[in-house]
Amino acid sequence: MHSPIPPVIEAPRSAPNRRRRGGTNVELYAWLFMRISGIFLVVLVLGHLFIMNILDGGVQRINFAFVAGRWASPFWQVWDLSMLWLAMIHGSNGLRTIINDYTRRDMTRFWLKALLYSAATITIALGSLVIFTFDPTLN
């Protein structure tokens, strides 16, 4: 059998070629993203849960007027938009890892990821649209 590419024999004591041929660093960036976004999400999500579920009567006080009052402030708009994007990407990447771990057939893996990425894209787009186009005078 003749291989079209002759094998490369490196010189003795040459520095190891750590980068796999054709490989990328996508998994490294995904790993790093989980940790960086995680730190932001600790503040954003725990703050959100505390305000919405515990402070000042918790969920009992939440209605359309409450949302309108909050989103009148750019601070909470930026908070909610950051939380939406970071949490959705963080969660999608987590579920991608789980799909990679437990699916055995290539087609199963492909379709589950297709479903995941579609659902995540739609949800991020919908959530962003709602924050940007919110109308407190609706009705």
Binding site: L49, G58, V67, L84, A87, M88
Partner: protein
């Protein structure tokens, strides 16, 4: 990469008694049915489960909030379903799951980036479990207060 429970680094090797110099094949337990167990593995299992539960709730939550773009009435109707005692219990479960995931996530960051992190991973787990209990007891009390009054209250 993140699927590997790196937090088991300090789990000690099983201390079976060596009768001879040769390692003999393990016959008592099939290999590979369970990972190394103990705090390192179970914290990782709990991290996965709480993460998946939170992510599925997040989908529902973005869509229920999107109803503010439909009409105030439809939003208020759906939000009212959050205000009954049964859903209230599930909210406490959600807060507990998110809080564990957040605290254990910080522990994972410490294991990965702090040079002594792997050595203290077990102590850090029991620390975050302690913090979780200290936060959840008053948190659950305030979250369930209204439901308690609805169910058993005098007012």
């Amino acid at each position: 990469m993140s699927s590997t429970p790196v937090t088991t680094a300090s789990t000690p090797a099983p201390s079976g008694k060596q009768t001879s110099g040769k390692p003999k094949p393990a016959t008592s337990r099939p290999a590979g049915t369970i990972y190394r167990g103990r705090e390192g593995m179970w914290s990782w299992v709990a991290h996965r489960i709480t993460g998946v539960l939170t992510f599925f709730f997040l989908f529902a939550h973005v869509h229920d909030t999107a109803l503010v773009r439909v009409s105030p009435q439809s939003y208020d109707t759906v939000i009212d379903t959050y205000k009954n005692p049964f859903v209230n219990l599930m909210e406490i479960g959600l807060v507990g799951a998110v809080l564990y995931h957040a605290l254990n996530g910080l522990r994972i960051i410490a294991v990965d980036f702090w040079e002594k992190g792997p050595r203290y991973q077990r102590q850090m787990l029991w620390t975050i479990v302690g913090v979780w209990v200290v936060v959840m007891v008053p948190g659950a009390y305030f979250m369930f207060q209204h439901s308690f009054e609805t169910l058993f209250g005098s007012k």
